[in-house]
Amino acid sequence: MRLPDKTTTLEEAVAGIGDGAVVMVGGFGVPGTPFTLIRELVRQGPKNLTVIKNDANETGMGVDHLLASGQVARLITTHIGLNPRAIELMNAGKIEVEFNPQGILAERIRAGGAGLGGILTDIAEDTELARGKQRVEIDAKRFLVETALRADVALIHADRADTFGNLDYVATARNFNPLMAMAAPRVIAEAERVLALGELPPDDVHTPGPFVDHVVELGALTEEYAVVRR
């Protein structure tokens, strides 16, 4: 037995994402954002996307390119304060934005990745974010039903991958990546380095290969990866 090879080209990895697709995008600010996969998604041009990402990056970076090209219809997120374009599009009614408490977004994605229907939480009960949500009582305590989130495709940035799609992340570039890498039937990982099988220690793998469909090795990193402008 040997583990299958999932390496492919950038173009093929991203090919066939259709109009109306739901796309999860890893990253929290710059670290862990799959800038190269996003650029290719802009180049290939599917429209009317629902994007699920912690934030909207900053002007001229990452998800902002998808907003600028008009490919995004809906954004499920936690905080977009660093992207004036996202706020402007939201206020003008040109994109729909759904805000989640950050850890609840993480849990909803994880629930999708874990094949659950949702989770029960008391977070945000007293706030406007709880409006319209279903309640369940357990032992006389009331919980909000937060539904699981899955996507058609997840775009992941890893530090290292092996050819089977085992991934690891570095420092705070981990964030939403391992959660999203479980929550779509098609998971595309860009990696700063792609290693031969056996070069990632099995105890240190953050995302096991069975969750991953395509592995793309990055060449020299573009400027986006290195810049935090604030």
Partner: protein, 217 residues
Amino acid sequence: MSDARTRMVARAAREIEPGMVVNLGIGLPTKVINHLASDFPVCLHTENGLSGIGPTLPPDRADRNLIDAGGAYVSTVPGSAFFDSATSFALVRSGRLDLTMLGAFEVSQTGDLANWKIPGKFSPGAGGGIELAQKARRVAVLTTQTDRAGNPKLKAACDLPITARACVARVFTEMAVIDIAPAGFSLVELAEGVSAGEVAEATGAPLILPDGDIPTF
């Protein structure tokens, strides 16, 4: 293992397609691993937290921390990964398990599976069996055609508490390969030297025969 059982396990191994992620249940299914070529592209999963099982090891070469869900000492292959029990079943429930092969006490003609409890006799708990049966993309059963008393294990309906409903796609026995078709049990292949009539007799519900020749294994 008898020749008939070895043939059955070898036949079941051919069910695994290149590129699949596969979980092999305790008992007969685990033996399938012995029939996979060393260069066959497949990822074997065990629910206690490993993707990329390698060959079973003898005790003197075993790692005390490296077992499968049945407690057997196993090994890894290049590219294996370890993970916790939540992640392991996340993989199962979210559709990443292409195939599981399980043992059975009973299989119904609608694909219900009973393999975890015999009331009053055997109630050790279901372990991970319910999730494997309910969520693997394809569930195959490896079992003898009849129990020790000669009663068919393939039945119109399960009498024992079920593990999951309408989950089994195909059954491998020492006598035959039988699909769960919309109309019920459907004979697909025969073991060499076994007749369709013998299989029908050892099946506890109508057995649909294919048109034309029946392949053997």
